[in-house]
Subunit: 341 residues, 4 copies
Amino acid sequence: MKAPVNIGIIGVGRIGKIHAENIVSSISQGRLKAVADLNLTPEIEGWAKNLGVATIVKEPATLLADKDIQAVLICSSTDTHADLVVAAAKAGKHIFCEKPVDLTVAKVAAALDAVKKAGVKLQVGFNRRFDHNFRRVRELVESGAVGTPHLIKISSRDPAPPPAKYSAVSGGIFLDMTIHDFDMARFQAGSEVVEVYAAGAVLIDEAIGKAGDVDTAIVTLRFLNGALGVIDNSRKAAYGYDQRVEVFGSKGAAAAENDAPSTVKLSNESGVIGDKPLYFFLERYQGSFIYEMRAFLDAVIAGKPTLVTGEDGLQDLRVGLAAKLSLAERRPVKLSEIPLK
Amino acid sequence: MKAPVNIGIIGVGRIGKIHAENIVSSISQGRLKAVADLNLTPEIEGWAKNLGVATIVKEPATLLADKDIQAVLICSSTDTHADLVVAAAKAGKHIFCEKPVDLTVAKVAAALDAVKKAGVKLQVGFNRRFDHNFRRVRELVESGAVGTPHLIKISSRDPAPPPAKYSAVSGGIFLDMTIHDFDMARFQAGSEVVEVYAAGAVLIDEAIGKAGDVDTAIVTLRFLNGALGVIDNSRKAAYGYDQRVEVFGSKGAAAAENDAPSTVKLSNESGVIGDKPLYFFLERYQGSFIYEMRAFLDAVIAGKPTLVTGEDGLQDLRVGLAAKLSLAERRPVKLSEIPLK
Amino acid sequence: MKAPVNIGIIGVGRIGKIHAENIVSSISQGRLKAVADLNLTPEIEGWAKNLGVATIVKEPATLLADKDIQAVLICSSTDTHADLVVAAAKAGKHIFCEKPVDLTVAKVAAALDAVKKAGVKLQVGFNRRFDHNFRRVRELVESGAVGTPHLIKISSRDPAPPPAKYSAVSGGIFLDMTIHDFDMARFQAGSEVVEVYAAGAVLIDEAIGKAGDVDTAIVTLRFLNGALGVIDNSRKAAYGYDQRVEVFGSKGAAAAENDAPSTVKLSNESGVIGDKPLYFFLERYQGSFIYEMRAFLDAVIAGKPTLVTGEDGLQDLRVGLAAKLSLAERRPVKLSEIPLK
Amino acid sequence: MKAPVNIGIIGVGRIGKIHAENIVSSISQGRLKAVADLNLTPEIEGWAKNLGVATIVKEPATLLADKDIQAVLICSSTDTHADLVVAAAKAGKHIFCEKPVDLTVAKVAAALDAVKKAGVKLQVGFNRRFDHNFRRVRELVESGAVGTPHLIKISSRDPAPPPAKYSAVSGGIFLDMTIHDFDMARFQAGSEVVEVYAAGAVLIDEAIGKAGDVDTAIVTLRFLNGALGVIDNSRKAAYGYDQRVEVFGSKGAAAAENDAPSTVKLSNESGVIGDKPLYFFLERYQGSFIYEMRAFLDAVIAGKPTLVTGEDGLQDLRVGLAAKLSLAERRPVKLSEIPLK
């Protein structure tokens, strides 16, 4: 396929808008031709026109019927993802789908089947793989500088918890938050998770506990290649968004620290004071959204596999489900206990 | 004036192109309507069309005659700046002029007169004032966190020297390189320079010495408010672009360290190894070019003074000329020795 | 009791010698009066005379019979600790005992009983509580700056593994290495461990695996106060001794990074290169050995409880035994499963 | 000569006491045999007896007459240094003399003559050469890692100014404070200073200005090998003692940052807060006093040149005098303007 690729976006809420604006401003491999949103407000229409979008529609089906569109970005609500992946695949479109594809293995597996049959590309929106810091860690691992990986450590803490009722919709902390870390751990380890042990606690908001979820967790992973992994999560870090990754191996360790708005240090009678980390994922991962989109379009144009496949999304989900089971049954859970389909 | 402002760019070499692309991709207050370049190649025409530029001409005069254009960016070669400022002012355009306006006080002063008479805005392209790190230092100074400034320290080292013959055209290290640091020093001190002492050496490239310039320098500044300043320069830092600023005052110090591509540290048998600084000014000051353009357009729209005035440009030039004189005569030079007109 | 306290040291191998030299050079509260060592070589005699030690004997009993001695340091091999604690307590001496008191709960409990009956002080040699970095973390926690602790994170990696056969004598990684981290975790959490889950792997030396031990581990802790803890261990970090502690709580986080021989950074074409951490525990914890001894003598002189009690030693041992059981049975183990006596 | 060397200390004020205690506690190459102090209080006698000093006298001459003493440390007031060096040399003692030997070139030169004639060793107390950070910088320079030195940068700021009247006795900022930095600059450059330009200001305490001194300064140095140097000084840094050194050369840069009491960072809503630097020279240079004494005694024992010679002391003084002249006459001063004798 030749660049630029004609793109349609289904769902232009916060993340859909970010992709749209990035494509227009910073991504030469794609051209934003259409947007579809079931909740098509005048505000959205104005915003889309201003970006030069030719086709602005309500129904995803209308957008999928457009022969000129070669790739679609599925940015609608999670419960619509799997069906839209199937529909887009049947329409012969290459697909970028925000994470997660679905909260059930069965629906994800069915969607992947449809993608496979249609022979289209699918990339799942685990954008953190494209972050400048975490890519650099991975490069060092791949270069051999770290040696054989022994430990994968991830700190992942949000600046503020979502409303407690969000847990019900999202599948809980392991499926809406830690799932990013599971994907990062698999990415950095270069290996699949075979066992999960999750310890959790409700330390921030009792309502989260009442909703059946935890807000603080430590998850231990065992990988097929023998390495161990550990993730610590909190729904609320007073100092902002804490996103660190470390890979420790036989030859050394590569560790990514947080990003901050500036490098400035103020030295005074109180100490030496630096900036807090960038506030949340929109600030921290700003660049990664551009890089993931370029990578998706590069894969489409070159006819090569995407860098975050549907299979990755499925595995991340299974690790998340294993973590939920581990927490519920207070025991390590083998990934083989979680169905593949 | 209402946003967006219609903009014409005169000269679309490297820096002109950066401004053009930033306006299109990232600056909502302006619309790029025209470009003029005396060396109008098919490559430039293709590039401009792709950006959606309506008017693509050779002669600056043609662009300046366009009634729809409200602001011009002068990005042509330095020797044309002053005349173009005068012409643009006469045409009633608001002006963003790349630094320096000219290498002589007389021509700069004449250009500023023309601007004043025409009542248009002028912003000079000292982009570093808009850098995220250096703005943060200035914010801390203005907030009083540093107290009364006593010392302004700047390290400013390039990754590689320009060709030796460049010195003849550019006016030498103090007028093409250190002038940025003079502007930064005045910005951070919040005060004017009254005395300059420059020590220089040729340690990198003998050809630079033969061209009558130095490649390594330490410049001491005395400010009207009593503070002292010091700048160290090198044309060649083996580790890349070194750009640090520190303001030390009665209550503490604010210091900006270098930016790097990532925060990753590799720990191995050799030590703990972090990234080199971002390579050169295009990488290091990428964001500042956007912020300076937004600030210019905000000033135009709001009818307020620009944040880097023509007077700033003139003072920076006088400090540079004082440094040259100091180096030549091996003595401290009072700024009052350099003519105002 | 009045300072200085007369001290006898039983066992002057590596750690006994360190305490002896510290007392002579840096500790005003104590006076080194006697040493006993079953393996009394001429080298040891020469070393002790040079330090000005008055009494140099072979048998601990001889030293314990000396009425002038008020406090003993038990620095002999681990298998002799518990019996010597009992003997010293019966002799009415205050006791500093290197860790661990014993590898069995029964013998430790019996020794603590003897100490209690005799009414003497006992401090166990968990020196890391006295480290400048970790004390600072604890101070911040106690000051309330971190808020309620939610997560205690410890990285603890040695520069080189001990001989595989050492595991048999030492009780394995959880009792000879991680036990320090268990003590640190309890110290920082200010709470007792109630549940332990240990994941382990043999990634460095197969002989360690054959000896029934692991060389790489991640241990999850649950504390009585609700906080979670996690420790990662490796027997071999290519870059030296890695000793970091972080306490994350409702108001923020306090994190101690490694110490290095210097603060110097070399910037060159390869990057920005800092020192590796201090090599191993003798270098890293040099200061802590002095502080723990001062604290012991201060407690003796003031008649106050020691800062690392026999009870601490017992609890650390129980956590270690729980970790061993968890690893063996691949399940989380409640501390209540480990006997108290 | 054989270790340990018998040592006498003349003058046991603050720095004399530090050397005495270091010798007793940490320096195996020397034995403290005698102290002399014109102001011999009961407090000093008690302190000396407690250290095991055999000979405690008032008159330096008494100490110098002791045949058993092989080396003396001159730690009395500055105005007595030169005469005591001469007397000690005549008595055939090796000499460690606190800086400066004198504030006049003539007296220093005469003292050096006496030392030369007597064939004894002389080390001057520029202890910072023995600091762990600055030695590491020098090692990197000597290893070639930095390439040919181009710039030597030193920040040297005290936490609090001395009383204004101190300037009269001390010779002013350049002779009591910056002289350490001149020595450091010469040490790091591996070359002699040939020209000095000093800019100064009174920004902290007007009384210092009235006493004819400055409290804030920037000094530019030119070295024989072509390198440039710059020192910034302040008598009062709100955040404590600021002691940084950077050597920039053709292959890279080596930079020493401040030391702090701990590596701990507190992250909270206000930012990421680290410790202030160690408070003042006693804390910051604690280790260096031990290393300089070991080096002196090693030189005495091995019959080799000391690492900070009398010639170094003389040159540092001449640079200081050149800085004073430069400040007074507001012009760069060549070192050749300052007499050698």
